[in-house]
């Protein structure tokens, strides 16, 4: 499978196209809530603790992706987890491949963010992070990996906290299936922006395209009572009202005679 998801956040020029996807198969998470976990103990050069990184993740999901009104996907701040040191030192892709995921760094479920110091992942200090959905079944993402540049020369730690949150949010966009946007005011633009405060229009269109919200019910007459969408009684009330109104609309009225 051709992976197009190695995406970098640095600075350069512009082009004009629409929001894009990571992969031509339109791969997505099957569930509506995805946890974002942080690999513990690896951020040696970033100058932040695991808890601080987790806090930045919380800001990233709350200030950006979870605000989309038309998307069903919700990212949740996860936990600090212990993983193998390969996540700190390994390459995200297998060498000499078109970025075939390194099986040693496969993420079992949800999204994992790890600091990483392998120079093969970050050929320049301007590359802040790389991301790949690296555990895929068919068109379903099971797990995605975000690696943050933790080399001594990294530029991530020079950014302000809100910009770091925007960088993480950008990488999370790749992790759940979005590619880059050509539009500069979009979070998914390839370059960082110091005053990134909210999603752009293209971002909302992108996440809504991959994860369209389906209210008041999650599917066509199905209600998942085991943690999925809850039945929405207001929706039922509206449908009841509509049926009555339509019935009345099409009810034949006796024609009044002109005198």
């Amino acid at each position: 499978m051709k992976f197009l998801a190695i995406v970098f956040s640095i600075l350069l020029s512009t082009q004009s196209e629409a929001f894009t996807m990571n992969n031509s198969a339109k791969i997505v998470f099957a569930k509506d809530e995805v946890a974002v976990n942080v690999a513990g103990g690896f951020c040696t050069n970033l100058g932040i603790t695991d808890e601080e990184l987790l806090s930045i993740v919380g800001t990233a999901v709350d200030n950006f992706w979870n605000k989309s009104p038309t998307s069903r996907l919700k990212l949740r701040k996860g936990a600090v987890v212990n993983v193998a040191t390969d996540f700190h030192t390994g390459t995200i892709c297998m060498p000499s491949t078109n970025c075939e995921p390194n099986p040693d760094l496969s993420v079992a479920s949800d999204i994992l963010i790890s600091c990483n110091n392998n120079a093969a992942n970050f050929s320049s200090s301007a590359i802040l992070a790389v991301t790949i959905p690296n555990n895929i079944s068919g068109t379903t993402i099971l797990g995605s990996l975000v690696l943050i540049n933790d080399q001594a020369s990294n530029q991530f730690d020079t950014k302000a906290r809100n910009e770091q949150a925007a960088i993480i949010a950008h990488e999370l966009g790749h992790a759940f299936g979005l590619g880059h946007s050509p539009v500069q005011d979009s979070l998914m633009y390839y370059a960082t922006m110091s005053k990134r405060m909210a999603l752009g229009r293209d971002d909302i269109d992108g996440i809504s395209y991959l994860y369209p919200k389906q209210q008041p019910f999650s599917g066509c007459g199905t209600i998942d009572l085991n943690g999925g969408d809850k039945p929405n009684w207001w929706g039922g009330l509206f449908i009841g009202f509509s049926i009555i109104a339509l019935a009345e609309l099409f009810r034949k009225k006796p024609k009044s005679k002109l005198v």
Partner: protein, 195 residues
């Protein structure tokens, strides 16, 4: 559950008796400002307020009493490009509004479904990938998002034929994290009881 059954029972009872009423078919033309204050629009962190998005809707008012009106509404916005011209967006909505009419001002409240259609041209785009360029797939099939929205508004009757409305569509009213507001205004022509 009991509450809901009670409400539906009340609706059924009322539907059989109250609809021997006058009606008013009316058509509204206006503009919808989507997701006010929710979208970044420039590099300086500026956010959106209103952009050109014409909307057209048809309403059928049922005068339950001279003051209280039930008003099913079907409407759509002009199909338009997204932030990028390759993305096509269009919204459609089906609402059931109620209106309380005073001499000039109408209080409007309702709820309904708001559909957003998003589609793209397919193919691939060559985009900057930080350290070079890469091909990224563009969206192809049309996708519909479906939101249950609450509508709150005010109407002003100028005369028997013309009125104007200001309204707010509230998305995800019960969830603060992705709650959003779209503001709209419209001018309405009333055809009266033509059905």
């Amino acid at each position: 559950m009991k509450k809901l059954k009670y409400l539906i029972f009340l609706l059924l009872i009322s539907s059989s008796s109250v609809f021997a009423v006058t009606t008013d078919l009316n058509v509204s033309l206006g503009n919808l400002c989507e997701y006010v204050g929710k979208i970044q629009t420039d590099e300086d962190g500026g956010k959106n307020f209103c952009s050109f998005l014409p909307s057209l809707s048809g309403n059928l008012d049922f005068f339950i009493t001279p003051e209280f009106v039930l008003s099913p509404q079907l409407g759509a916005t002009l199909p338009k490009s997204g932030r990028d011209e390759n993305i096509k967006r269009m919204t459609m909505y089906a609402l059931l509004n109620s209106k309380y009419k005073t001499s000039y001002v109408n209080l409007i409240g309702g709820a309904g479904l708001y559909l957003t259609r998003i589609s793209g041209p397919g193919g691939e785009a060559l985009l900057n990938n930080g350290n070079g360029t890469d091909s990224f797939p563009l969206p192809k099939d049309a996708v519909y998002t479906r939101n249950f929205i609450v509508n709150l508004g005010l109407g002003f009757d100028f005369n028997k034929e013309w009125s104007a409305e200001l309204y707010t569509y509230v998305f995800n009213a019960l969830k603060s994290e992705d709650r959003a507001f779209s503001l709209g205004f419209s001018a309405t022509y009333h055809f009266g009881e033509v059905l």
